[in-house]
């Protein structure tokens, strides 16, 4: 019972600490002077360097999803609806969530490990002493880069995923790419696309913020760095699903579904 109370207190403490850390982004991070150079560098590392991984997983996801969906559709005789179903599934849910999860796995851990090791080696403390705001320089740029890059990655991932789906469709029947794209977009509306696109900003923000938080407050020692990287990935992944749940409810309330 004692353990439960401790754990609860720890959880609440963590939540409050993370909220305060996140709030600092809006109070400190968005104010000038902007670290543009560092932001671009982080965008390059977080966005561009994640593309091959995202592209590979998205392609496989599209291909596999198509091949898995096909038998059930054949049973009901609606095989021709395969592109529409794949299109809606990818654009609405699978594209953003899978991309965000892969992104969390790669970025949250790397940010957590990087900031954790900087914390452990007291570089962050040294920065503070030298007059540079470590939050502004290290955290704000990374969170901003993650927030901006994940939507781009998601859009590209969706496109690659649809290409994978096209190949999956063509494994059994012959469909021209134009027909496939026309069928995919036939029933897609902005109500499908925009909420999914907007939520990726929140996914990116969550991944960046949690990665930075876990690294920024890493405990001492090499074990602490590993732990913070691991915790960053787990928490970021869970947060993605929580945000997804919120997003679907908000879009439902707004009547966009």
């Amino acid at each position: 019972m004692h353990g439960f109370a401790t754990k609860t207190r720890f959880f609440l403490n963590e939540t409050g600490s993370l909220s305060r850390f996140t709030a600092r982004f809006f109070s400190v991070g968005v104010k000038p002077r902007y670290e543009v150079k560092e932001l671009l560098a982080q965008c390059y590392i977080i966005g561009y360097k994640s593309l091959p991984l995202i592209a590979l997983t998205a392609f496989i996801m599209g291909l596999v999803l198509t091949m898995q969906l096909r038998p059930s559709l054949v049973v009901y005789g609606v095989e021709s609806k395969l592109p529409i179903m794949i299109g809606i599934a990818i654009v609405r849910e699978i594209g953003p969530v899978i991309t965000a999860l892969i992104f969390a796995g790669k970025i949250a851990s790397s940010i957590g490990a990087e900031l954790g090791s900087m914390k452990v080696t007291e570089q962050i403390d040294a920065m503070e002493v030298s007059g540079t705001n470590p939050y502004k320089y290290l955290v704000a740029t990374r969170v901003m880069a993650a927030t901006l890059m994940l939507p781009v990655l998601t859009v590209l991932g969706d496109a690659i995923c649809l290409f994978g789906a096209y190949i999956g469709v063509n494994m059994h029947t012959v469909t021209s790419y134009r027909l496939f794209i026309a069928q995919v977009f036939q029933d897609l509306t902005f109500g499908d696309f925009l909420p999914a696109f907007i939520k990726t900003f929140f996914f990116g923000f969550a991944v960046g913020a949690i990665g930075c938080y876990k690294g920024y407050y890493s405990s001492k020692g090499t074990r602490g760095v590993g732990n913070s990287a691991n915790a960053a990935v787990v928490l970021a992944s869970v947060m993605i699903f929580v945000i997804d749940l919120l997003a679907v409810q908000i879009t439902d309330l707004l009547g966009l579904n």
Partner: protein, 330 residues
């Protein structure tokens, strides 16, 4: 520094690619929703929308022509649907075009079908009200199907009864009897044979007719020889003349017979005397008797003469010659 510039370039390409994909997606979706390009509005009123919602497609002659922009309840039996129509199809829609609510496929989304009306009519303007047309809805189809099902049930019951009756009837035995089939087969074979024979016969006749036509054979001669025809004609004419003569002769004969008859009945003429006068007959009889007696006497006289020596030589010579001739013959 050079490395940083290179990284920034790659980042730029990456972000631009993402933006391009985003714009493409926006365009593709927007194109379906008529957000780009000029368009105009058309209205129509339906008593029931059957589940049509804002954003559903509007098809003109089966081609994507626009989308449903808004739906407004006018009264409990009238709902106004405002449609955004692509300007590209404007020049094809006339004022008498009819709108109907249909389904995309069997279970797909609802669509508004605009079809051309009959007869000439000016082109539509922005905000025009189109007439409506009732389309066959799935509910109607199911209702009809229900009636059809009932009918089928009745028909199948009737058919069942009929089939059972046929099963029990003599017709079925006849149908089941294999020997009938066999005999039918034989009959058919015979018929086939007969037909073959008939065909041969007709062929032969045909040959004959051909030959006759060509003037071969007796019939041919008859039919084709003009000389023989002429002869036949003259022969017939002669027969006719002979007939006429025969007629004349018969008439003469008749007259003669009549005359004789008259004479006979009237007791005139020598014949009548010969036939009817009994005295003459007796006389004649007597005369005949006398002649017989005379000839008998003459016979005796002649026999006597034979035996007379004066004439016996001659008779002996006659006999000898007779015998000689007989020997020659033998």
């Amino acid at each position: 520094m050079a490395n940083e510039t290179g990284n920034n370039t790659r980042l730029g390409i990456f972000v631009l690619a993402g933006l391009l994909a985003l714009i493409m997606a926006f365009y593709m979706i927007g194109k379906n929703n008529n957000l780009f390009g000029s368009s105009f509005e058309l209205h129509t009123r339906f008593p029931n929308l059957n589940g049509l919602i804002v954003g559903n497609n509007v098809l003109f002659a089966g081609i994507q022509g626009g989308t449903v922009k808004s739906i407004r309840l006018i009264s409990d039996t009238s709902i106004e649907v405002t449609m955004t129509i692509d300007d590209k199809v404007r020049t094809f829609i006339h004022k008498n075009a009819l709108a109907a609510i249909g389904t995309d496929g069997l279970m797909g989304n609802k669509v508004v079908n605009i079809s051309a009306g009959k007869g000439a009519s000016p082109l539509v303007d922005n905000g025009d009200m189109l007439g409506t047309q009732k389309m066959v809805s799935t509910d109607d189809m199911l209702q009809t199907l229900s009636t059809t099902n009932n009918n089928i049930a009745v028909i199948s019951a009737e058919l069942k009864a009929t089939a059972l009756r046929i099963n029990q009837s003599a017709v079925w035995d006849v149908l089941n009897d294999r020997s009938i089939g066999k005999s039918l087969k034989t009959s058919l074979k015979n018929i086939a044979k007969a037909t073959a024979n008939a065909s041969q016969i007709s062929l032969a006749i045909s040959n004959m007719v051909t030959r006759a036509g060509n003037g071969k054979g007796a019939l041919g001669v008859l039919l084709a020889d003009t000389v023989a025809g002429g002869d036949l004609k003259s022969a017939i004419a002669k027969i006719k003349t002979a007939g006429n003569n025969a007629d004349q002769m018969t008439a003469n004969l008749n007259a003669l017979v009549l005359k004789i008859d008259k004479d006979l009945t009237g007791g005139k003429g020598s014949l009548n005397a010969m036939l009817k006068d009994s005295v003459i007959a007796q006389n004649l009889k007597k005369s005949m008797d006398n002649i017989q007696k005379g000839t008998d006497a003459f016979n005796q006289d002649m026999e006597a003469l034979k035996h007379n020596f004066l004439f016996s030589g001659y008779f002996k010579k006659l006999e000898k010659e007779k015998a000689k001739q007989q020997n020659k013959k033998n």
